[in-house]
Amino acid sequence: MGIKFSLTVVIALVLAAFLGVQAAGMTYLFGVIIPYLAVFIFLLGVVYRVITWARSPVPFRIPTTAGQQKSLPWVKQNKLDNPSSTAGVVGRMLLEVLLFRSLFRNTKFELHQGPKVVYQWEKWLWLAGLLFHWCFFVILLRHLRFFTEPVPFFVLMTDRLDGMLQLGLPGVYLTDAIFILAVTYLFIRRVIIPQVRYISLPADYFPLFVLLGIGITGILMRYFLKVDVVRVKELAMSLVTLQPKVPDGIGVLFFIHLFLFSTLFAYFPFSKLMHLGGVFLSPTRNLPNDSRMKRHVNPWNYPVKVHTYEEYEDHFREKMIEAGLPVEKE
């Protein structure tokens, strides 16, 4: 159900952009209004989400410790997987955010006759996830060439490196190819692994289809059904300088590409894609394991009813005296 629904929505989005631009000529709507709106929703939504998260306190220090704690001086601490200092936490978070440290641990379990439980090597999810995220990042970075004049050196450099294979004309970007492969893998895996399919919601397929749509339209534009890049840049520059103007003669494919991306952007804050922000606020990862050394304060800690020693002794005094246990009141 999730697949069909999500696919239908994405196809409808593509058609909407196609008809809107091609038949109704609404280039200003799709080229200016919607992108602006999307950026607005994205920024506002993300800020709202992060503030909502941040407003809930972290009452307890609950890192998942994944290595040796800091204890006796001769016991070697695992400073990255079980940090006890801020520097350690920064290191752990960098590994987590940049290299997906936790996912790298992944294994796959199999039940053999016996029963016998075995654990298989399984790094494909990690690899595809990592490649997808990094490629997406590089592609976004490359797109800055449309929004800047002069184009900064790091964008040019990324562009150069990415296209270093120099296959075909215009040169094939490595990231384009890997992006499509990785997203496709993530989709296929979701469909063919029964457990993953069972847990999947429409909200899991939808972003994958949108991403594929963005990737495919992008590749089509660059390599096959070319659009006028000079005019695209003209539009992009007009958008960033807040003097929006849609030049004539940009192919409809571009508007589909832009519309899908706007959709992704506007959808972002309301969806699981917020894991981008959430990972930084995850209390099992971003706290040092130092709560025996340094008191962690819970802002809403409140007094509770306890059974005091006095009540306890009152209850058991005679038995205690008889057993020779010391008491406060004879």
């Binding site: 909502t52 998260w53 410790t65 006796l72 016991v75 294994t107």
Partner: protein, 539 residues
């Protein structure tokens, strides 16, 4: 009570149901759920809605406004716990956690995949706390909170041992323990809990320990072990109770006072402290290291834990030494000081024997017995004869809570390898931070839940069988009282021939004491290696 199928009859099927998980109702099959809390136990600690009820009944006798209570409770907790708020929002359902859960591995029930366990709560969160869920409903993965959903929560939140293995593999650190803890907290608001948790909580509250041992009986039981120790070693140890002015207060789980094989670990403590001449005292008021309040609610955890500091203050000790226990140490490491500190009436712990300052415990002022002993051994303060453990071929089970809630890996290994000559590790996917739960943690170690316990215990026991076949391992050491109580059963079920021991039982065996008689048996009365023959001659 349901009969547990034999290991070869137990069907483990990972095939998924034809229906989606929201359309698959929960079935309460005997052997897979725990009995509900008895009203008298709820009343002792003032938990809401005490009544007789059964999960098998249609009517769970909920308060009329149960839904309001739960949703209000959820709102409150979303505002109190960033963990909950973030974990509700960011799961991408990648499935990395799915096969990391011992209950999923052993049962094949898809709702035991951590991701789905969390979705049980998340779907309700979406419906009532997110715009998308309100508008789009099921398309957005949202669903109405109904009695059936509540029943599902009860079933699956009491089918999670809060071991946090899944959180280790989650790319965002989503911790199912956190979800389960809060889920159980919500259930408790309308009187849904299990007696194996509420009973010990009530006992602990009134009598000082989970087992409800009264002060005079507690003293009696420990003194029984004093005799046992004398019988084995010829040395008479002299523990003290509720003694003011002692330097150290010692607190350990009451399970070790009560039943084998934990009692042998307790004997190990007594022997060690005697040999050191440690100025320490037991307390009958704070006679529980564990904390089943942790399996009820954050508030109940705090109410029970409060006794440790209160008693340390009353007795005027300098610091607290804690015994071998799993969840006890998660509570001490990650909650105690925050909840019931600051312990400014205590001193930073210093070992009176070695002078070592335990800087890592300078705020809580509570030291783990295995840290303490490791430091003693490192400084050459103990005379040890590891050959007295030569009849044992030992492996080590990392208990979940000290592993993933603390990072306690090298200290116990160091101690074991100092007191044993034969030590073998289980496969790395099942040890240290990746360790598997015993299958009965977080208050699920009751008899009526036995089938599920054996299922959940499979991965751990399977790794034990692996080293049993490969290295003739016959003993699994651990530092958790629940482990000691339950691994015996699950190993007997899946890997017969492997026993269970605490680390300090091994220490007790190896410890050469001043004035001791020649030992012919270990603490259990089993003949030492090389002593079996002389036994035969006697016959």
């Amino acid at each position: 009570m349901a009969k547990v199928p034999k290991p070869n009859e137990l069907v483990i099927d990972h095939k998924l149901p034809q229906t989606g998980w929201m359309d698959t109702p929960v079935v309460f099959r005997p052997g897979t759920f725990s009995y509900p809390g008895k009203p008298k136990n709820l009343e002792v600690v003032g938990l809401p809605n005490p009544r007789e009820w059964s999960p098998m009944d249609e009517d769970w006798k909920l308060p009329d406004n149960w839904k309001e209570i739960i949703l209000e409770g959820l709102r409150e907790r979303l505002e109190r716990f960033r963990s909950l708020r973030v974990f509700m929002d960011i799961c991408v359902r990648c499935g990395a956690c799915a096969d990391k859960c011992h209950f999923y591995i052993g049962s094949g029930d898809p709702k035991n995949m951590p991701v789905l366990r969390a979705e049980l709560l998340r779907s309700v969160y979406r419906k009532d706390f997110t715009t998308a869920g309100k508008v789009l409903g099921r398309i957005a993965g949202a669903r109405e909170l109904t009695v059936d959903v509540l029943k599902e929560w009860f079933y699956y939140f009491f089918q999670c041992t809060e071991c946090r293995r899944c959180s280790l593999f989650c790319p965002y650190g989503i911790d199912t323990a956190e979800i389960t803890i809060i889920g159980r907290e919500l259930l408790n608001l309308v009187g849904l809990n299990i007696d194996w948790v509420v009973g010990p909580v009530a006992n602990c509250y009134m009598n000082g320990n989970h087992l409800g041992i009264q002060p005079h009986a507690f003293k009696d039981m420990i003194e029984f072990f004093v005799d046992e120790i004398e019988a084995v070693s010829g040395v008479r140890v002299e523990p003290t109770f509720n003694r003011k002015g002692a330097e150290i207060l010692f607190i350990t789980p009451s399970g070790d006072v009560f039943a084998d094989p934990g009692t042998y670990t307790l004997m190990g403590y007594l022997m060690l402290f005697h040999e050191l001449g440690l100025d320490y005292t037991w307390s009958t008021y704070a006679s529980e290291g564990g904390n089943f309040g942790f399996f009820t609610s954050h508030e109940m955890m705090k109410r029970l834990n409060a006794k440790m500091y209160a008693e340390a203050k009353r007795l005027g000790v300098k610091w607290i030494l804690g015994g071998e226990c799993g969840h006890m140490w998660r509570v001490i490491n990650q909650y105690m000081d925050t909840m019931n500190g600051p312990a400014d009436f205590l001193e930073e712990p210093v070992s009176p024997i070695t002078g070592t300052r335990f800087d890592n415990a300078k705020s809580t002022k509570m030291v783990h017995i295995v840290e303490f002993t490791a430091d003693l051994i490192r400084n050459g303060k103990l005379k040890l004869d590891p050959s007295r453990n030569d009849h044992l071929r030992v492996t080590y089970h990392d208990s979940c809570n000290p592993s993933r809630g603390m990072g306690f890996f090298e200290e116990p290994r160091y101690v074991i390898q100092s007191v044993c000559n034969n030590f073998f590790e289980m496969p790395p996917e099942t040890t240290r931070e990746q360790t598997f739960c015993c299958g009965s943690g977080s208050g699920l170690n009751n008899d009526e839940f036995m089938e599920m316990r054996m299922r959940g215990g499979l991965p751990r026991a399977n790794a034990a069988r692996y080293v049993q076949e490969k290295h003739d391992v016959n003993m699994m050491a651990c530092i958790c009282a629940i482990d000691r109580a339950v691994l015996v059963t699950s190993l007997n079920y899946w890997a017969p021939g492997v026993g269970v021991t605490g680390v300090h039982e091994l220490v007790g065996n190896a410890l050469v004491m001043k004035g001791e008689a020649e030992r012919t048996t270990d603490l259990r009365g089993e003949p030492l290696a090389g002593m079996e023959e002389s036994d035969d001659e006697d016959l």
